[in-house]
């Protein structure tokens, strides 16, 4: 079987397109590269979707955290504490057990039946966990940024008569985003990395459609040789990380475009943020 045939068979295997069966024997390098790369689709899907939705929730949570009313502030603080203080691995298990306990037949609301079985699938259930998790971590970053907005900026805004919603929309929020962006980039990178936990933590990989690490683990188990599949995953993730840094760097340039060149904040990758 040529490498091109392998590619057409397995390139989209992780989302159920292509060959039904995984290779059983005589593994080639080509198969390993193709299948692990195919699994990467899931990592990108989980990471990108969780970031996208999490961004909005994180903004709301950060605002709730600086609110004066304890009725708003306390729940947000607890949410952030629970999701940042416990391992993502445990969160996945817990969420899976919770979602499995939902009634099989669906929930009756106002005469409509909502089915719940799709929630126990990884594409939805794990996404929810990752979404809440990244929202908590990002909320902490945004909260820190909100608190470190220079006092002078806010006073200047008020001197110009910009108050309330306008002040938030035109001064506070853009500044917060600009200050938080380097840390937020790190958070994005580590979110992509933690997507590898999904298929090791309760969520089943239906008909062996898993992520990059799932396939790498499959090959390592079958060949008893960890020296090929794991470096391949590592390579794919380095590429993914570089892609994320590039994209977020572009956005960072956009956020800082009004500042003189020498005081723009640079994005530095600090590997201190995994969960």
């Amino acid at each position: 079987m040529s490498c091109w045939e392998t590619f057409t068979d397995y390139a989209l295997r992780s989302i159920g397109i292509g060959a039904k069966l995984l290779p059983k024997a005589d593994f080639t390098l080509c198969q390993q590269f193709t299948l692990i790369g195919s699994g990467l689709i899931w990592n990108v899907y989980f990471g990108a979707m969780a970031l996208l939705f999490g961004f909005f929730l994180a903004n709301a949570l950060a605002l709730a955290r600086i609110a004066h009313s304890p009725w708003v502030r306390k729940p947000a603080e607890w949410f952030v504490f629970v999701f940042r203080g416990s391992p993502l691995f445990i969160q996945f298990f817990l969420a899976y057990e919770m979602l499995v306990m939902l009634p099989r037949t669906g929930i009756e609301i106002f005469g409509m039946t909502l089915t719940s079985s799709w929630l126990t699938k990884a594409w939805a259930g794990a996404l929810i966990v990752l979404f809440l998790n990244t929202a908590a971590y990002s909320a902490e970053i945004f909260y820190g940024a909100l608190r470190s907005i220079p006092k002078g900026d806010l006073e200047a805004a008020e001197a110009y008569g910009i108050t309330g919603w306008n002040k938030f929309r035109r001064i506070q929020w853009p500044t917060m985003l600009r200050l938080a962006w380097p840390s937020y980039t790190n958070e994005a990178i580590f979110l992509f990395q933690s997507t590898t936990l999904v298929f090791f933590s309760g969520f089943p990989a239906l008909s062996q459609r898993g992520d990059a690490l799932y396939y790498a683990n499959y090959f390592a188990d079958k060949t008893f040789n960890p020296f090929i599949p794991y470096p391949i995953v590592a390579m794919y993730f380095v590429l993914l990380t570089l892609g994320v840094i590039w994209l977020f760097g572009r956005l960072n340039r956009h956020l800082n475009r009004h500042l003189p060149q020498n005081i723009r904040s640079r994005i530095r990758l600090r590997p201190q943020l995994i969960r």
């Binding site: 504490f81 203080g85 416990s86 590898t196």
Partner: protein, 293 residues
């Protein structure tokens, strides 16, 4: 454990709960919390030592050593740590068995990677297939500790390297001006001052280490996640204590355990941070000095 628990089917209510929670399997479950704490207690100092060595290597004058140190601390960037966990466990295991294979096997002419298997003769297996189950558990745990120490050592190396660079150059130059040798500058000035810069990073790493401990489950150690799944699963009438699927509650228990660990660490570490900032030429140290005036 108690006399009243002799016939679990006959008892009810509080007695049942007491008996259930003190059954043999549950005692193993409580023991596995000790496993986790033991992992933390061993890994943290070993990772610190590895990290310190890595940071020293990265600052070394000898070029190959410097490359090694930089490569080690750069290892953790960009790649999920769980990849290292899965990789090192097999790689270490095979490495040990390969060395043993060269030592004890009668015929070492055949390659160890044959077809789809990793072959060594039965005498070279570590641990031997005749060993007690406890030996297997201890061996797996040992491999897990080494893996955690290597991966977290790389994180620590990164933090300590940065902290060493952050010590003001003037401090080191002053020490040199007083005639201290390179070693003395390192021991008496650089290292004592470095900790205050390293502490935020190390605090963060400690939190990460706590939250990485459930990954023991993936390294085939019978840890708290393993027991939570075992004990929580549905038990039919064939068991002494039948109950429906209670895994959710067991995992809630684990969640509380981790939240408590995090909270406790936060309190202790903030005290240490205060202690270390005393008399330092940093913003925190300056604030403390002003407060006392």
């Amino acid at each position: 454990m108690f006399a009243a628990c002799a016939d679990p089917k006959a008892i009810e209510g509080l007695t049942w709960a007491t008996c259930y929670l003190t059954s043999g399997k549950h005692l193993d479950f409580y023991g596995s919390f000790i496993t986790v704490l033991l992992l933390l207690a061993i890994t943290a100092p070993v990772a610190m030592a590895l990290g310190f060595g890595g940071a020293m290597a990265a600052r070394s004058q000898i070029t190959p050593l410097r490359w090694f140190g930089k490569a080690y601390s750069a290892m953790v960037r960009g790649v999920p740590d769980i990849v290292y966990f899965l990789f090192f466990v097999i790689a270490l295991d095979q490495g040990i068995e390969y060395l043993n294979f060269l030592r004890v096997c009668p015929d070492t002419s055949l390659p160890v990677f044959r077809g789809m298997e990793f072959h060594v003769c039965p005498e070279a297996k570590v641990p031997l297939s005749t060993a007690a189950p406890f030996v297997f558990q201890a061996y797996n745990f040992g491999i897990a500790v080494i893996t955690f120490a290597i991966v977290f050592g790389a994180f620590v190396a990164n933090v300590i390297y940065g902290a060493m660079q952050a010590v003001p150059r003037a401090q080191l130059e002053t020490a040199e001006a007083y005639g201290m040798s390179q070693g003395q500058v390192f021991r008496r000035v650089l290292v004592p001052q470095m900790w205050t810069y390293a502490l935020p990073g190390l605090t963060n790493l400690w939190m990460i280490l706590i939250k990485a401990t459930p990954l023991l489950f993936l390294l085939s150690v019978k840890d708290i996640v393993y027991y939570a799944r075992e004990l929580g699963g549905t038990k039919t009438q064939a068991y002494d204590y039948p109950h429906p699927d209670w895994r959710l509650y067991y995992f809630l228990g684990l969640l509380v355990f981790y939240l408590l660990m995090t909270k406790l660490s936060e309190i202790v570490l903030s005290r240490i941070a205060n202690r270390l900032s005393k008399g330092q030429a940093t913003a925190a140290g300056e604030a403390m000095r002003k407060a006392t005036i």
